[in-house]
Symmetry: C2
Subunit: 386 residues, 2 copies
């Protein structure tokens, strides 16, 4: 299935935050591919499901490097803030461009032949404009018919998305699924007797003030961050989004990436009806309907917060780039070898010109995030040498 001795193994991740499950995955990769370097393509300051990252990209990249990653690349916002298929495509493209030969990923069913499933379902592309519930259900039914059984667990579905992206890109990567253990993705309680809990459970416990309980579930580097930094969530950015929705001209909202079917009117009207005390969750619940799922709306809300326009996403997708956040000593050797040969520019520091041109969108996104965490995100930041 996978190349026996790859030099570079890739992982697509969000590390929100980095926990023992992520550590386990890196250890599995090192055991299976001794001597290989691990390159991670990681979401930046805003995540795939449409929410601010708990810690900024530098903190999360450092957590990864402290626990076995050799190179961390940032997935630009136009790749990260996407439905699973497009998120997968951006991740696979970045890893392939960096020279990865294997993609390792967690799956509920690591024995599935994801590439075979991808080939069986490659004509099931669906309508990218529609991400409503009915569409999701009928899509899963179509997959089941093609493959012969359901593929419905969240990480299996993401694995299938990786496989399809890989297929579309000419199969630059071999896939190496790793069986996920112990914690379910959506789990929100800690299992007292287990050392792995989901990122969601960890964030919930943190917000509930149970910081010391978390020591068992995260590597030391993450625990230090949990103690010293404020974890951010939608609650922190909601006052800004609420202001934006109150102040915005409706025609400007219409230019936001992902805005469709006049939903911008609903976003504004529901907030107005709920009044000034509404929370983010109350607002999203009021806006939600059959055609707009919670996750799709969360992404849309993030795009509004960031003023991410359709045009900006198009510009990036026509000319993608790789953004380096950090590397280990072993990663440095790899970088020296790779950096001249990437098919897209590899950005190692942000210049004044960059932030006015191709990096303008990610630079803006970083500045919005830093309004809440108070730390420069791009200018004046050195790549992490771990």
């Amino acid at each position: 299935m996978s190349k026996v001795k790859p030099e570079i193994v890739g992982i697509i991740a969000e590390y929100n935050p980095f926990h023992n499950g992520h550590l386990y995955q890196l250890q599995q990769v090192k055991e299976r591919f001794p001597g290989a370097k691990i390159v991670v393509a990681m979401s930046g300051n805003f995540l795939q499901r449409g929410e601010p990252a708990a810690f900024d990209k530098w903190t999360r990249a450092t957590q990864a490097l402290a626990n076995g990653a050799d190179v961390v690349l940032e997935l630009p916002v136009a790749d990260a803030l996407q439905p699973a298929d497009r998120f997968a495509f951006g991740g696979v493209r970045a890893l392939a461009a960096f020279g990865a030969e294997v993609l390792a990923f967690g799956a509920e069913h690591a024995t599935y032949d994801f590439m075979a499933y991808a080939r069986l379902t490659q004509n099931l592309t669906g309508n990218f404009k529609k991400y409503d519930q009915a569409y999701a259900a009928s899509w899963q039914e179509a997959i089941a018919q093609k493959i012969g059984h359901e593929v419905s667990s969240p990480n299996d579905l993401l694995g299938l998305a990786y496989a399809k992206a890989n297929l579309a890109l000419g199969e630059p990567l071999s896939l190496y699924p790793i069986r996920r253990i112990k914690a379910a993705y959506h789990e929100e309680d800690l299992y007292k007797d287990q050392v792995i809990a989901s990122a969601t459970a960890i964030r919930q416990a943190y917000l509930a003030g149970k910081l010391t309980d978390l020591q068992a579930y995260v590597p030391k580097s993450t625990f230090v961050d949990l103690q010293s930094q404020k974890m951010l969530s939608w609650a922190d950015f909601w006052p800004l989004l609420r202001y934006r929705l109150t102040m915005a001209r409706i025609e400007d909202l219409g230019q936001i990436y992902g805005m469709a079917e006049g939903i911008e009117y609903r976003l504004v009207q529901q907030l107005e009806q709920l009044g000034p005390q509404a929370t983010f969750e109350e607002w999203l619940k009021a806006v939600k309907n059959k055609r707009f799922t919670y996750t799709r709306l969360s992404r849309l809300a993030t795009a509004v917060l960031l003023d991410l326009r359709t045009e900006e996403v198009k510009v990036y997708q026509k000319a993608p780039f790789l953004r380096l956040l950090g590397f280990s000593q072993a990663g440095q050797t790899l970088l020296n070898k790779v950096k001249k040969n990437t098919p897209y520019p590899l950005v190692t520091r942000v210049t004044q010109k960059d932030k006015q041109t191709f990096l303008a969108t990610d630079y803006k996104v970083g500045r919005i995030y830093q309004l809440l965490n108070g730390r420069q995100q791009d200018i004046k930041r050195q790549v992490i040498r771990f």
Copy 2:
């Protein structure tokens, strides 16, 4: 000078917050014009000098009604957020439209013949686009030449602005200057042995946590508000403005009322250079130069916060309206008489149609203010019957 028995005396005010000096002024008017009704044209939730009001317009209108005002009208934002000349024009126009015959105002020199000074200086209009320091100085010198002495105290200058507005409107009002006592306008310390302190001094003391000290300087109604409500300032709105400046498209900022000479680039660049920890004052100080005074920039900052566009101000000025906030029992009799005869519409409640048409700007402004104070400002608010 003033009509001997006017039925309606007008006052232009901000009441930020209402204090003993304001009470003294109302008492002086009642003493001088027994039986007259007092109509106040008051700034709404954002003030002439470019700052959020300490308390919302309903709270401040109630303070005025509790202390002797009979009718309180709101000066729409397009009248309030203006240099002194235009602010004065909006106030005089509103009072005249409501049928006021006298305008009472505080002045450092109540013996000045303001209308005579207005006639002497009526051709000194200056360039409205220029409000820099050099302009202010040369304007004052020109006034002094025409009149024969300086007119330089802040309330005298405002009185002159009222007189000029009155002249421009065909002198609908007689002017009644009242000598201001005891507290200087810009004073920032409380005088322990005096019962009058400036609004600025009161806000400073409040922010310094000296709430109980304030009991001597404000009427009871204001003191109750000081105890029960959070006073708002730029510090509260700065996170929103900072976000707006971080997220905004530069071409949108160019449409903001008062934006000139490409200052929008400077607003954005200085914030970027100061970094994510800068305060409102630090930012304004960094932006300030000879051509843009602190007050002009504060107004501009408010216009950015409110997304107040040049076009919106034009629309209002072509079709102004009167907005009723509240009235006393005596005020009600007056209202019944006046309301059918005002030359502009008198808005007593905000309908769904109003907020989408001529009231759209003020409605938006109210919603932005209520993001911070949590109280509906327009829809669902009844006019105050005191």
